[in-house]
């Protein structure tokens, strides 16, 4: 590719950290005020705006509060809870992420009927102007099912898995899977979910894999049926930094094999930098920053920032490139990968929970109200 240079570095060195300042104590976010909603389309006159807008200092574009610390990644034997075939399916594909506003009157007990309607809807949309009787045989087969065991918290709604198969016109009865997607919620914000009226189901994270038009159709059906909305979920550098640190921290328990980071620099022509770190080195760096303090192993955002600074400083010493001027595009280890565009791949079922918790949180932060 003309105009693109890839720098690949394999490095070992002694860590000398800049910015090893005193660890800043966690900024305590104010205790959450239970969110109340009024019988009104607007905020009831003379009541103060809800907590989302009142935390200066940590406002994102959307004005939300971003957590400053989270628990370290912990291995969790998902295989024991979830059907291994399903797990294999989740790990096989790369998923495109989207966020979803809460579904109105979604019932897990009615998935059969949803399959029928979704089938009819897709067929009708494909053949504009032809009416489709619901429940008739069509060229496609849609199955909507629950994926038991992904949810970790009792407030989390069960994950819903949708698969679309196309039926061959002639002969063989083998169905060909053409599209799959799932709606999930793992360790979703307790208070937010509690604050929703009971006829809403919050499944904020939508992962899909398959042709774009089918994704659009499925989204459109959900939007029309459950009065929800889908929006693309991009992963910002903070999220990717978190993943890099969380995954690196897993190295002693489960070999991460490599830590690959890629940046895009704002140069003309654009410069992509692929930065591969030996897992042991990465872990040593992380270990020098993060000290495990007993049972409640929490990681602070400052530690994550220091970790990334350490990696960036090293590159600067060798190549005189400030990585912080560019955008972190991708993070990958053998446990999984995540791309800035909102694409993920799950590499290990044991650490799936950590990844999904983080992504659920990102998705919930996008929820508009």
């Amino acid at each position: 590719m003309i105009g693109k240079r890839d720098v690949q570095i394999w490095f070992r060195c002694n860590w000398r950290l800049v910015n090893m300042e005193e660890r800043v104590s966690a900024v305590n976010t104010p205790a959450n005020v239970p969110m109340t909603r009024r019988k009104s389309y607007g905020r009831s006159c003379m009541e103060n705006p809800s907590l989302f807008w009142q935390t200066p200092g940590h406002l994102t574009t959307l004005g939300h509060r971003v957590p400053t610390s989270r628990g370290a990644a912990r291995s969790c034997n998902v295989i024991s809870k979830v059907d291994p075939e399903q797990i294999a399916l989740l790990m096989k594909h790369e998923w495109k992420l989207a966020y979803v506003t809460p579904l109105y009157r979604f019932q897990h007990a009615r998935l059969k009927s949803y399959s029928k309607h979704l089938t009819a809807f897709i067929v009708a949309e494909r053949q504009q102007g032809v009416a489709i009787e619901v429940g008739t045989e069509a060229g496609i087969k849609v199955t909507v099912s629950t994926l038991q065991g992904i949810a970790e918290n009792e407030d989390d709604a069960e994950t819903v898995f949708i698969q679309i198969h196309s039926k061959p016109m002639f002969g063989a009865d083998a169905l060909k899977p053409v599209w799959r997607g799932w709606l999930t919620c793992v360790n979703g914000d307790h208070e937010y979910i509690k604050s929703l009226p009971p006829d809403f189901v919050s499944l904020p994270l939508f992962c899909s894999s398959g042709s774009e038009p089918l994704t659009a159709l499925v989204k459109s059906w959900f939007e029309r049926t459950f009065d929800c909305n889908f929006g693309p979920l991009f992963l910002n550098s903070t999220t990717l930094n978190w993943l890099a640190a969380l995954w690196t921290g897993c190295h002693p328990d489960s070999n991460i094999r490599f830590l690959k980071l890629s940046w895009t620099m704002p140069t003309q022509p654009s410069l992509d930098i692929m930065y591969t770190v030996n897992p042991q080195d990465a872990w040593e760096l992380w270990n020098s920053i993060h000290s495990e303090d007993g049972a409640d192993d929490r990681i602070h955002i400052d530690e994550v920032q220091q970790f990334m600074n350490g990696l960036e400083t090293h590159l600067f010493r060798h190549f005189k490139i400030y990585l912080s001027a560019g955008t972190l595009m991708k993070v990958s280890t053998s446990l999984g990968s995540a791309h800035h565009d909102g694409k993920i791949k799950i590499g290990s079922s044991d650490y799936m929970g950590t990844l999904l918790t983080l992504l659920t949180e990102c998705a919930l932060l996008r929820t508009p109200v």
Binding site: S44, E47, N229, G231, P232
Partner: protein
């Protein structure tokens, strides 16, 4: 028979009555009446003859039949046919007693004068089922039914033979017309799985036909769980009109008979829903179409939003209207907004807010790179829709509000300015430190870095925000007074002192904006006027809105207005000071009456008095900048300025705003004088004449101000 001829008769007599008003015309009218009666005689006879035509009558060369047909035909085209005649003629025609040709001929002149009895249609459908008629006659008959559909007196019996009519869809030639008729008749109970299946078969045979699609679309409205359909945007035309044969005659007859019973001749019904098709990848700026979810309640009494056509229907069904599948679709129609105003369902508002918040966020906060010019017009249309909905509901949406707080900090102040500021003026009051961080801080940065027009719109926006708050406060007060016993949502209401704090914050914020803005923009006249608009609201808060708060304008607003070069500004300042006086007087009176400690501080009274003294001594007493007033200026400085007679340079005669009037007055008083001596105006009765002259120019504000403050007896500062 006599009965049957009654109607056209009556109508014509009414007509003649209307045309002739005078009394001596009466005999003429009676004669006319008799003549008409006589004229009707042959019609009755002809009708009688026709209804007695037996099967097997020879048609060809039958002069008597021909003659009678002509008589009836003439009457039909001139006056229309009464209901009885219609049913007799329909019977004659469709039974084919007088042959196929006559049948077609009769159908063509079957123009109803008033209504069509449904029995006649029901009987005709049964003739149709016999199947003797040729296909052309059947088509013509159905076309006729569609044309006169709105004139059928009652449709319940017709609905009960829905199944028979449905059987016509299998006939290829009849199908389009049968579908249209069914479309008009369909109720929820008619939509049955076997009918859906039948229509599917026909669709498989005939391909996608607009009439089938329309009928199925209605089926989808009633039973979305049975059938689904996506109507392509270019095929949304609805049904064709089949009324060409009768249109002209029918409308002529109806115009003549009863204008109010006019049938809507454009029977083509369009599906409500998306107005235009948008070729846009990101569809989040589209108000979704009305549709119902497939798992809606099976209760047949439920009324769907899509069926809603008129306000009357809304009122009749308001207790069992079902909300649409997507709440956002309510913003698309004004009828739906009326309903939204009555909705009490918290989930419904949450759904609306999720959708709206998502749309705004995706368009303005997350995808700014997708900002082409055409999408900008779309965005502006979208915001305008929200704005007009909010204006209609007189309340802002929660999601718009939270969007605005986020958007203000990234806004450049020019993108969709009028809409954004319009939405901003809808935000409800909140405690003063929130409004500072969420609204004022981002706004002040934009204000000082933008041009004068933006400054004006900001002040205007804050003025309407204040007006809304005050109105809201006033209405709440009234409601509180109305039911003191039911005090349920005390927690939801900000207490009075909190509200006063917020309003104080807003007013002092605008005071700062205006002071600095006027200085930066050299006392731009437009900005000054918007500022005075704002203070016109502020000065009347106690009298008009019962809010115990009086805040005086800062010096940075007061003096530019007082020394403005245009008379209107000074006049408005006069009006504002007059209203301040009224409010403060009322406050004082309330204080004395109730004996309670009132909230208006001494300082406010003192401020008012100072400004009043300055104003009176400038305009009236010709003692500008004199010692003792707040506008005192050092004598040496005034001498240095080399302005002659600086004490009186801002009185009503010499004030630059009124200079022109003084000259004019001078010319009128002393037309012979060649050198102008304005000082002579101030002498004796000329002064009061001059003041009178000024008031005649329409300076009402000044008039009030001077009357109240400088009445002969009262001293200048009386409060």
């Amino acid at each position: 028979m006599a009965n049957s001829s009654n109607l056209p008769d009556l109508a014509s007599s009414e007509l003649s009555e209307a045309s002739s008003g005078a009394l001596n015309n009466r005999s003429l009218r009676v004669a006319e009446h008799l003549r008409k009666k006589a004229e009707n005689k042959p019609f009755e006879l002809a009708l009688k003859y026709l209804s007695n035509v037996q099967e097997g009558t020879v048609v060809r060369g039958n002069n008597e039949l021909e003659k009678n047909l002509v008589v009836v035909e003439t009457v039909a085209f001139r006056q229309g046919l009464p209901p009885d005649a219609i049913s007799q003629l329909l019977d004659l025609a469709l039974s084919l007693r007088a042959g196929g040709v006559t049948c077609l001929r009769i159908l063509k002149f079957l123009i109803p004068a008033s209504v069509v009895p449904q029995e006649a249609i029901v009987r005709s459908v049964s003739w149709l089922c016999v199947g003797k008629m040729n296909i052309n006659a059947q088509v013509l008959f159905l076309r006729w039914v569609l044309t006169v559909f709105d004139l059928i007196d009652c449709k319940d019996r017709l609905r009960s033979i829905y199944g028979f009519i449905f059987s016509f869809v299998t006939e290829e030639n009849l199908c389009p017309f049968a579908c249209h008729l069914l479309y008009l008749l369909t109720m929820k109970e008619h939509v049955q799985p076997y009918r859906v299946r039948k229509l599917m078969d026909i669709q498989a045979k005939m391909g996608r036909q607009p009439f089938l699609m329309q009928l199925l679309a209605v089926y989808k409205v009633f039973r979305p769980e049975l059938v689904t359909l996506s109507v392509p945007s270019r095929m949304r035309a609805g049904f064709k009109n089949y009324n060409s044969t009768w249109k002209a005659a029918l409308s002529a007859v109806q115009k003549k008979n009863r204008p109010e019973a006019m049938a809507d001749l454009s029977l083509s019904l369009e599906l409500k829903g998306k107005s235009t098709s948008r070729k846009r990848k990101l569809h989040h700026l589209e108000v979704p179409g009305l549709s119902s979810a497939f798992d809606t309640s099976s209760d047949s009494k439920v009324f769907r939003m899509q069926e809603l056509q008129s306000f009357a229907q809304l009122l009749q069904n308001i207790h069992n209207i079902e909300l649409p599948a997507q709440m956002g679709s309510l913003l698309g129609s004004s009828l739906a907004l009326h309903y939204l105003d009555c909705v009490q369902d918290e989930s419904a508002f949450l759904r609306l807010n999720f959708w709206l918040g998502h749309s705004l966020q995706e368009e303005f906060l997350l995808c700014p790179e997708d900002g082409g010019s055409d999408s900008l017009s779309e965005a502006s249309a979208f915001l305008t829709t929200i704005l007009s909905s909010q204006q209609f509901l007189q309340e802002g949406f929660l999601s718009t509000e939270s969007f605005l707080y986020k958007f203000l900090s990234v806004w450049d102040g020019s993108l969709l300015r009028s809409q954004i500021l319009g939405l901003l003026s809808h935000i409800p009051p909140m405690s003063s430190n929130y409004i500072k961080t969420l609204v004022f801080e981002p706004l002040i940065q934009l204000y000082f870095t933008s041009n004068v027009f933006f400054k004006c719109s900001v002040i205007e926006c804050l003025n309407s925000m204040l007006l809304r708050w005050l109105t809201c406060h006033f209405v709440n007060r009234l409601e509180d007074c109305a039911d003191l016993s039911v005090n349920t949502n005390t927690t939801a209401t900000m207490n009075l002192s909190g509200f006063v704090d917020t309003v104080t914050e807003l007013v002092s914020f605008v005071g700062r904006l205006a002071t600095e803005g006027l200085r930066l923009e050299n006392c731009h006249i437009l900005l000054l006027n918007h500022t005075l608009n704002f203070y016109e609201t502020v000065c009347d808060m106690l009298v008009k809105y019962e809010l115990p708060l009086v805040i005086m304008p800062p010096a940075g607003v007061f003096y530019p207005a007082l020394f403005a070069t245009d008379s209107l500004t000074v006049d408005r300042l006069g009006y504002i000071m007059y209203r301040y006086r009224k409010n403060l007087t009322l406050a004082k009176k309330q204080e004395q009456q109730n004996g309670q400690t009132f909230h208006i501080s001494r300082a406010t009274y003192q401020d008012f008095n100072k400004q009043l003294v300055v104003m009176v001594s400038c305009l009236w007493n010709s003692k500008s900048f004199s010692p003792g007033t707040s506008s005192e200026i050092d004598e040496h400085l005034l001498i240095q300025s080399k302005v002659p007679k600086y004490r009186c340079c801002f009185d009503l005669v010499h004030h630059p705003a009124f200079f022109k009037y003084a000259i004019e007055f001078h010319q009128k008083c002393w037309p012979e004088r060649t050198c102008v001596d304005l000082a002579s105006i101030k002498v004796g009765r000329y002064w009061s004449w001059y003041v009178e002259f000024l008031f005649c120019q329409g300076f009402d504000g000044l008039n009030y101000f001077i009357q109240v403050n400088t009445g002969q007896s009262s001293s200048s500062s009386s409060s």
